[in-house]
Structures are given as structure tokens and as C-alpha cells.
């Protein structure tokens, strides 16, 4: 959030920005929240908290800039700072360590499996949702932000507070993991 040239909006203006620039993204926000929490009530809480914070810090928002990316950043921070701590989810793998490993040059890229386009085209929503949901939350997040929400690498770097190079490598790793999951489905469907 840029601190320089912070605008000070009138109450009327705040309400207008909230209505016209923030609320239209509620659908994306709720779906993102749901996909990282897997729970309706948690997703509601997370979105509500995000919007309350957005309103409280509305002076940090430059009108006309990317409201969606700004809101997603708040949501992601709320998830990490408040939510993850409270949640009953079991401890995650040390994902940073995994990432460091995969970012190193020595990694042998074993990329493509024998997953075929025809098998992918036959898949239904449940299969793809399950495959994506089976990924660790940080991997799931980059795929959602990139493929579903259409954020650029640069926007993702800002939302996630990581360098663009890390966005790229995390995405690459996430896609390979997803491909593996899809391949298992393809095999179970009888495709080879």
C-alpha cells in the first residue's frame, strides 16, 4: 500500500469507492476465500474481514488503481496473519524449503507425463476442483490467481509479497503438481 500522496476521501467519496470499486469483486473474493479455507463460514468471515479492513484503510487506496489486486492482497494477509493461526488445519509442510529446492539449478526437470489433451477435455468440474484442492494452499493460490482470476505475474508478486521470479517458479511447480493429479484421474478414467 503506497504511503506517498495518500488521498483523504470525504465520507461520500469513500462510500462511492466502496460501492463501485470494491463490492463488484465480492464474487471473486468469496470464491478465493472458499478455495483456500474449504469452509463456507470461514470464507464469509474472511471476506467480511477483508472488506472491513479495506474500508478502514480506504485512504491507502489510490482511486483508479487496481482495486481487485489491492483487495486480494488484504485477503491474503488476513488469511495468513489471523486466519491460519486460528484454523484447526494441521501444520503444513515447510513449503519454503520445498520451494528453495525446486528453485535450485540442480533440479532435474521431469516434466511431462503421458497425460493427453483428450483426457483433459473429458474431465468434469469435480475432478478438476478436487485436483486443485489437493495441492498445498500456496501452490493452489498461484494457480487460482493466475488462471482463474487472470492476474499478471507482477500483480501476483504484489499480492503475495514475493519476487516475480518466485511467482514464476511457484507457478511452474504448482502446474506440474496439478498435472500429476490430473494424470491420476485420467488413468482412473481409463485413459492412458
Amino acid at each position: 500500500m503506497a504511503e506517498q500522496n495518500k488521498p483523504t476521501y470525504t465520507e461520500e467519496k469513500k462510500a462511492k469507492i466502496f460501492e463501485k470499486e470494491f463490492l463488484p469483486h465480492i464474487d471473486s473474493m468469496y470464491n478465493f476465500a472458499y478455495r483456500i479455507t474449504f469452509d463456507e463460514d470461514d470464507a464469509k468471515d474472511l471476506v467480511q474481514e477483508t472488506y472491513l479492513k479495506a474500508f478502514r484503510f480506504i485512504d491507502s487506496f489510490q482511486e483508479g488503481t487496481n482495486a481487485k489486486a489491492w483487495l486480494f492482497r488484504i485477503l491474503k494477509n488476513s488469511f495468513i496473519n489471523d486466519f491460519r493461526k486460528k484454523s484447526k488445519e494441521p501444520a503444513k509442510v515447510d513449503y519454503q524449503e520445498v520451494e528453495t529446492f525446486y528453485n535450485s539449478d540442480e533440479v532435474d526437470e521431469t516434466i511431462t507425463s503421458d497425460l493427453r489433451v483428450e483426457a483433459v477435455q473429458e474431465m468434469i468440474g469435480d475432478e478438476v476442483s478436487n485436483a486443485l484442492n489437493a495441492l498445498a494452499v500456496d501452490f493452489r493460490t498461484v494457480i487460482i490467481l493466475c488462471d482463474l482470476e487472470g492476474f499478471t505475474y507482477e500483480e501476483m508478486a504484489k499480492i503475495l509479497d514475493i519476487p516475480i521470479g518466485t511467482v514464476r517458479s511457484r507457478l511452474h511447480r504448482a502446474r506440474n503438481l496439478l498435472k500429476e493429479k490430473l494424470r491420476s484421474y485420467a488413468v482412473s478414467m481409463g485413459y492412458k
Binding site: 463456507e40 471476506v47 472488506y51 477435455q121 469435480d126 486443485l132 482463474l148 499478471t152 505475474y153 502446474r175
Partner: protein, 99 residues
């Protein structure tokens, strides 16, 4: 023996021979493929890549597959509908904090 020249040895591992075998595992191709499908590639990158896949079935298939997976995610993921009372409840909370 003259026949084992460096050039000859190199020719065994040039992209062309890899293409012939249908196993182009050039990391650069994969990098370009990702950039293109994510809309992050330069015009030049695109030109290079699309020129390459004309002759490389491995990369062509890889491109098709990656593209179909992205499409699958975009079009078939389950969508949750926003709970009907969520917007109102947010607005109420904001009003109450403004008091």
C-alpha cells in the same frame, strides 16, 4: 579418426536431433510456453516459440496440453455463490463502526 569431429559430436545433441526423436526437453521451450500461455511473453518470444513448434511435435503437444489444462480450470471449476446476506452484513458492520 577424422570422422569423430567436434562438430559431428555436437550434431548429436543439437535441437534438431532432439526434435527428430520427438523429445525436445529444452528448458527454454518450456519457459516460453508458460510465458505465452500466461500472457507474459514478448512478441519476439511468441514468434520464436510458434516457429519452433511447427517442427517440434513434443513442444506442440506440450503446448496443446498446457492450454487445455488452463481452459479446464477456467471453464469447469465449481463456482460458489456468494451468500445472500454477506453484502448486507458487511455494510451493516461498516455503518456500526462509523457510529
Amino acid at each position: 579418426m577424422a570422422i569423430f569431429t567436434t562438430q559431428w559430436l555436437k550434431s548429436l545433441v543439437t535441437p534438431k536431433s532432439k526434435i527428430d526423436l520427438g523429445i525436445c526437453k529444452d528448458e527454454e521451450c518450456n519457459r516460453l510456453l508458460q510465458l505465452i500461455l500466461d500472457g507474459e511473453a514478448s512478441e519476439n518470444d511468441e514468434k520464436t516459440f510458434f516457429q519452433h513448434i511447427k517442427n517440434c511435435s513434443y513442444c506442440y503437444n506440450g503446448y496443446k496440453l498446457e492450454k487445455s489444462i488452463r481452459k479446464l480450470i477456467r471453464t469447469k471449476m465449481r463456482k460458489e455463490s456468494v451468500p445472500a446476506d454477506l453484502v448486507d452484513s458487511i455494510k451493516l458492520k461498516i455503518q456500526s463502526t462509523q457510529g
